[in-house]
Amino acid sequence: MRVALFVTCVNDALYPATGIATVRLLERLGVEVDFPAAQTCCGQPQFNTGYRRETEPLVRRTTRAFEGYEYVVTPSGSCVAMVRDHYPKFGETSLPSRTYELTEFLVDVLGVTDVGAYFPHTVTYHPSCHGLRMLGLGDRPRKLLDAVKGLELRELPGAEECCGFGGTFAVKNAEVSAAMGRDKVRNAVSTGADVLCGADNSCLMHIDGILRRQAVPTQGVPLRALHIADILASTEEEPYV
C-alpha cells in the first residue's frame, strides 16, 4: 500500500522527529510512504483566526499536492479536522474523505492495534479537542498504547478538558490559555507518569512549554510531552531517545 504523508507545517519546521517516526512506523508496517514536496500548511491557523480569503490558496495547494493518492496520512488530528470539516466549505470534497489521522489510519485502514512497539515508560494520554470531538478518535489511541510492550498507561484526570492552546488563542488570550495549560500539567503530573502523550504537536508544544518553564527552577524535568507517533515508532531494536 502506498500513502502520502501530510507532515503538517508545525511538524515540518518544529517537530521533524514526529514526521520521521511516522515514516518509520508506516514503513515497518509494510506501507510505502511518499512525501509530496508541494505541501505546506492546511490553512487552519488562518481560517480559525478569521482570514478566510487568505486560507483559500492553502486549501487549493494542499488539495493539489495530494491529488491521486488514495490515502493521505497525518500525525495531527487538528489538521485532519480542518481538512474534513472546513475544506468542503471551499468546495473541496475529495481530499476530506481520503485524509486520515495517524491512529485512525492504523486502526481503521491497516486494522492493527499492536504495531510491535516497545516503550518502557509510564504514559498518560491527553486527547486533543479536535481529535476527540471533531474526528471522534475515541479509544483508538488508547488501544494502540495499550498494546505497546513495556508501556504502562495511566488515567489522566480531566482528560477531555482543553489544554488551552487553541491556535492563536494561546497568544490573543495568553493568560487564560496559560491557566488552562497549567491545570492540564498539574493533572498530568498527578498521575506520576514520565510521559504525557498526545496526537497533536501544536497542543503538546503549549503543554511542553509550560512543563519546561515550571521545571526550570527545579532539578530536571519531571514529565515530558511526546507525540504518540514517537512512542509507536519506538522498538527494542531502535528505541526512542
Binding site: 488562518q46 495568553a174 490559555s177
Partner: protein, 472 residues
C-alpha cells in the same frame, strides 16, 4: 444591552483580572464542575437524547424561518385572550413601554421573576430613573441585586459568590431594601434560603405589578411559559393585578406539541433535573384568578439583524440553558463578568456581538474568547455550532480591521506567500535551523507566549530536509 456593561475593557484584559481573583476561580471551578457532572448523568438517562436534540434544533429552525408568521399568530391569540401586545425595536423602546405601563397603574414598586430579556435591556436601571423600584425575587438575582453586583451566569447569576459571601451580603444589605436578615445568620443553605424567603414574602404580598420574561411563547394559543425551580416566579405571575412580560421575539414556538421536546431538554441541560419543579403557563387574563391586566412586550433589540445572518442566526435557537457555560474551560477561568454582557460564556461570545454589533472593544474581542475546543457544541441541546459562529464572527472582526487586526492581516498575508512557495518555506526553515544556537530564549514579539511558556527548541533540520537526504 444594559448600560452597566458599556465601556467594558476587551475580554483578555477583563479575563486577566478575573484570573487573579483566587476566590472567584475556586467558586467557579467548584460550581461548574458540579453542574457539568450532574448534567452528564441526567442526559445519559435518556436513550433518545440525540433525537431530542435534533428535534429541538429543527423546531427552532422552522420557527425562525417563518418568524413573522408565528409572531403575528401569537399576537392575535394573546389579544383574543385578553392581553395587549406591544412591539419594541430596541432596549430604549422596550424600557419606555414598560415604564409607561407601570406608571399608568400608579404604582412605584414592581416584583420581578428572573428574566434575561429585562437584564439585557437594563430595565431595572431604566425603571429606577423613573422613580420605580424593581425587586428581583429569584434567590440568585436577589443576591446580585443586594450586592450591587452584576449577574455572571445565565442560570446561576451569583455563581461567582460562595456561601460566606452571600451571608455577608444578606446581613449587611437586606435591611436597606425591606425586612432585615435574622440576627446571627449563618452560611448554611437552609438559613440563607429562609432569610430570603422571609424578605421576599413581604414584597410578593404587597406588589400590584409583576414583571417577567418567558422561556417559550406558544403561537397557536398565545400561551406564555416560564420554567423555574424556586416558585418565586409563580408568585410573581399570579399575585399581582398587572403582569408585564418582556420576551425576545425568538422565544416563540408554533404549538403546544413542540414544548414536549424542550420540557425534556431544558431542565436536564440546565439544572440536571428530569423536570423543572415549576412550569407556569398563562394565556391572557381570566376574570376569576391571576392578573387582571396582561401586557406582552415583544423585544427585537438586534434579533432581526442576527436572523439576517445565515451562519450567525443559529444563535437564536438558544433556550438559555447555560450548559455551554458550565462546560467551557474559558468561562471557568475568566468568569462571567469578563464577557461584558448578561449573556456570558460561549453563547454570550456569539450572541452579544450579533445583538450589539462588533464596534466596541469588548464585542470585537468576544469571538476570540474561545479555544474552539467544541465542548459547548457537544452539550448544546439545540445543537448550536458555536465554534462555527465564532469563526464566522472572527472573519467579520478581521475584515473590520481595527486594533491589532491590520498588523495581523499583514503578517498572515506574508506568511501566506511563504506557505504558497514551498522553496521559500524550506529556505526559511534552513536559515532558522542554522542560526538556532543564536536565538534568544525569549523572542521579542513572542511575549504573550513566553510570559508563561518556553518556546519550542528549533530542530537541526526540518522534516523536508531530512526526507530529501534520506528518502530521495
Amino acid at each position: 444591552m444594559s448600560a452597566t456593561y458599556l465601556g467594558m475593557p476587551s475580554f483578555p484584559e477583563a479575563a486577566g483580572e478575573a484570573l487573579h481573583n483566587v476566590t472567584l476561580r475556586a467558586n467557579l471551578r467548584h460550581a461548574t464542575h458540579t453542574i457539568r457532572d450532574k448534567r452528564a448523568r441526567a442526559v445519559a438517562e435518556l436513550a433518545d437524547w440525540a433525537e431530542l436534540r435534533e428535534a429541538g434544533k429543527q423546531i427552532k429552525n422552522r420557527t425562525l424561518r417563518h418568524l413573522d408568521r408565528y409572531l403575528e399568530q401569537l399576537e392575535t391569540a394573546v389579544t383574543e385572550a385578553g392581553g395587549t401586545v406591544h412591539w419594541a425595536a430596541d432596549a430604549e423602546e422596550a424600557n419606555r413601554i414598560v415604564a409607561d405601563l407601570v406608571k399608568a397603574t400608579g404604582e412605584r414598586e414592581v416584583v420581578k421573576v428572573k428574566s434575561m430579556a429585562t437584564q439585557e435591556i437594563g430595565l431595572n436601571e431604566a425603571l429606577e430613573a423613573e422613580g420605580i423600584s424593581a425587586y428581583e425575587t429569584d434567590l440568585a438575582e436577589l443576591i446580585v441585586q443586594l450586592g450591587d453586583d452584576r449577574p455572571s451566569h445565565i442560570l446561576v447569576p451569583a455563581i461567582h459568590r460562595n456561601r460566606g459571601e452571600i451571608r455577608d451580603i444578606f446581613a449587611e444589605k437586606m435591611a436597606n431594601w425591606g425586612r432585615p436578615a435574622p440576627d446571627g445568620l449563618s452560611d448554611s443553605p437552609a438559613e440563607l434560603a429562609e432569610a430570603a424567603r422571609l424578605h421576599l414574602r413581604e414584597k410578593f404580598l404587597r406588589a400590584k405589578v409583576g414583571i417577567s420574561g418567558a422561556n417559550f411563547m406558544v403561537a397557536e394559543t398565545g400561551t406564555l411559559v416560564v420554567f423555574e425551580s424556586e416558585g418565586n416566579g409563580r408568585m410573581c405571575l399570579t399575585l399581582p393585578e398587572t403582569l408585564i412580560s418582556v420576551v425576545g421575539i425568538e422565544k416563540v414556538v408554533p404549538s403546544w406539541r413542540d414544548l414536549e421536546v424542550f420540557l425534556q431538554t431544558l431542565p436536564r441541560s440546565s439544572t440536571a433535573e428530569r423536570m423543572n419543579p415549576y412550569t407556569s403557563m398563562w394565556t391572557g387574563t381570566a376574570d376569576t384568578d391571576g392578573p387582571q391586566t396582561f401586557h406582552l412586550v415583544l423585544l427585537d433589540n438586534g434579533r432581526t439583524d442576527a436572523l439576517a445572518d445565515e451562519v450567525g442566526r443559529q444563535a437564536l435557537r438558544c433556550i438559555r440553558c447555560s450548559a455551554c457555560l458550565n462546560v467551557c474551560p474559558v468561562y471557568e477561568r475568566a468568569g462571567g463578568h469578563a464577557y461584558g454582557s448578561v449573556y456570558p460564556g460561549p453563547i454570550g461570545a456569539i450572541l452579544s456581538p450579533q445583538l450589539r454589533g462588533i464596534q466596541s472593544e469588548i464585542d470585537a474581542s468576544l469571538p476570540y474568547a474561545s479555544t474552539l475546543c467544541g465542548a459547548c457544541y457537544e452539550v448544546c441541546p439545540v445543537a448550536i455550532d458555536i465554534p462555527e459562529v465564532l469563526v464566522h464572527l472572527r472573519e467579520k472582526v478581521a475584515d473590520q480591521g481595527g486594533k491589532g487586526h491590520r498588523l495581523e492581516k499583514a503578517a498572515i498575508k506574508a506568511a501566506g506567500w511563504v506557505l504558497d512557495h514551498p522553496a521559500a518555506l524550506a529556505a526559511g526553515e534552513r536559515a532558522a535551523s542554522r542560526t538556532r544556537k543564536l536565538h534568544p530564549k525569549r523572542l521579542p514579539g513572542a511575549g504573550a507566549w513566553t510570559a508563561a511558556r518556553e518556546l519550542p527548541e528549533l530542530p537541526a533540520e526540518s522534516f523536508r530536509d531530512w526526507w530529501k537526504k534520506n528518502r530521495t
